[in-house]
């Protein structure tokens, strides 16, 4: 859930209980920040924007090359962090979970759709969230808009799904209206959200399976979720990574040369 949606849910809760307490604090903090932002916008309009220097193409190229060193260092730091994620211990999932899907009840194992890895994003779409039933939480909707064609994750034996509390009937309508038909989207029915740290806030959990045994391998939320949506960053939070030869992965991991697993999304990947 994003700050906007939290404020709305808190308002609903506050009006229902008339108490306030923690929820009121959240609302106040949110509105203070919003007012501050509005003031900043006004100030920016009044003051002239401070312009960077205007230079020749050669000078610009030199400045860009200097920054390129930092760009590469950041890419390498990102790769190194992904390598550490791959060395996380795996946590066995011992409980059974049930989801509602377009074809009825399914288990966590079913969400893998036969693939080796599963990524589960928790979106907020239910009657307590601002925009219901026309819209899901605005931040979750923004993220759904980033999601790449699933064929590419599928080509690395990985399935991405969204989950929320809304019934399938509403989810189907939402997906159609927003153009999210390609995102498999399931309804939470039990403690899955609580058990995986996504009962109050959005987050992305990564799982792997060994046969029928499911393991939780990683979890990303808050600003980590900003990077989600593209195939590379999704693979970088999984236990197996991009599964490419150059990667620093634990010994024995299946790796193929980069580029060679790429497909056109209208090819039959299976």
């Amino acid at each position: 859930m994003c700050p906007l949606c939290v404020a709305n849910a808190a308002l609903l809760a506050a009006s229902a209980t008339s108490g306030g307490g923690v929820t009121a604090v959240v609302v106040n903090r949110f509105w203070k920040r919003k007012r501050k932002n509005q003031t900043n916008e006004k100030q920016m309009k009044r003051a002239e924007m401070e312009m960077p220097k205007v230079v020749s193409a050669q000078k610009w190229e030199a400045a860009r090359k200097a920054l390129l060193v930092k760009e590469k260092a950041l890419s390498h730091a990102r790769d190194a962090l992904a390598a550490e994620r791959r060395r996380m211990p795996w946590l066995a999932v011992e409980k059974e979970y049930e989801f509602d899907g377009p074809k009825g009840k399914v288990s966590l194992l079913d969400l893998f759709d036969g693939r080796r890895q599963l990524i589960v994003y928790r979106a907020f779409y239910d009657p307590d969230v601002k925009g219901w039933p026309e819209h899901a939480c605005i931040g979750c909707s923004m993220l759904a808009d980033q999601v790449a064609h699933p064929a590419h994750l599928n080509a690395r034996d990985t399935t991405l799904v969204f989950t929320s509390r809304a019934p399938q009937k509403e989810i189907k309508r939402l997906k159609g209206r927003m153009g999210w038909e390609l995102i498999p989207w399931y309804t939470l029915t039990d403690d899955f959200d609580k058990d995986f740290g996504v009962d109050e806030w959005h987050g992305t959990n990564a799982f792997i399976r060994e046969g029928d045994r499911v393991f939780r391998t990683y979890f990303i939320n808050e600003r980590g979720d900003e990077q989600m949506g593209n195939t590379w960053n999704y693979l970088d939070i999984t236990a197996l990574g991009r599964q490419e030869k150059w990667e620093d992965s634990p010994k024995g991991y299946l790796q193929t040369p980069p580029y060679e697993w790429w497909i056109w999304h209208d090819e039959d990947a299976a």
């Binding site: 960077p52 230079v55 211990p89 066995a92 980590g224 991991y253």
Partner: protein, 62 residues
């Protein structure tokens, strides 16, 4: 292929994730800092005219 991967208890898993969370936040901040540097790059005026075609009519770069 990954059968020997180590598994952990809930507490061990959480401890490992909290350790990594520090590195995650550091990377986010580093990425923000680089974005700031990009904003501070000088600008180059574009003095040449470029033309692009759309399916309806010719469009120019500005």
């Amino acid at each position: 292929m990954t059968k020997q991967h180590k598994t952990g208890t809930r507490a061990e898993w959480l401890a490992a994730r909290m350790d990594l969370l520090k590195a995650e936040k550091e990377l986010t901040r580093r990425s923000d800092e680089l974005a700031q540097r990009r904003q501070e790059l000088p600008w180059v005026p574009i003095d040449k005219e470029y033309r692009f075609e759309t399916d309806e009519q010719k469009a120019c770069s500005a």
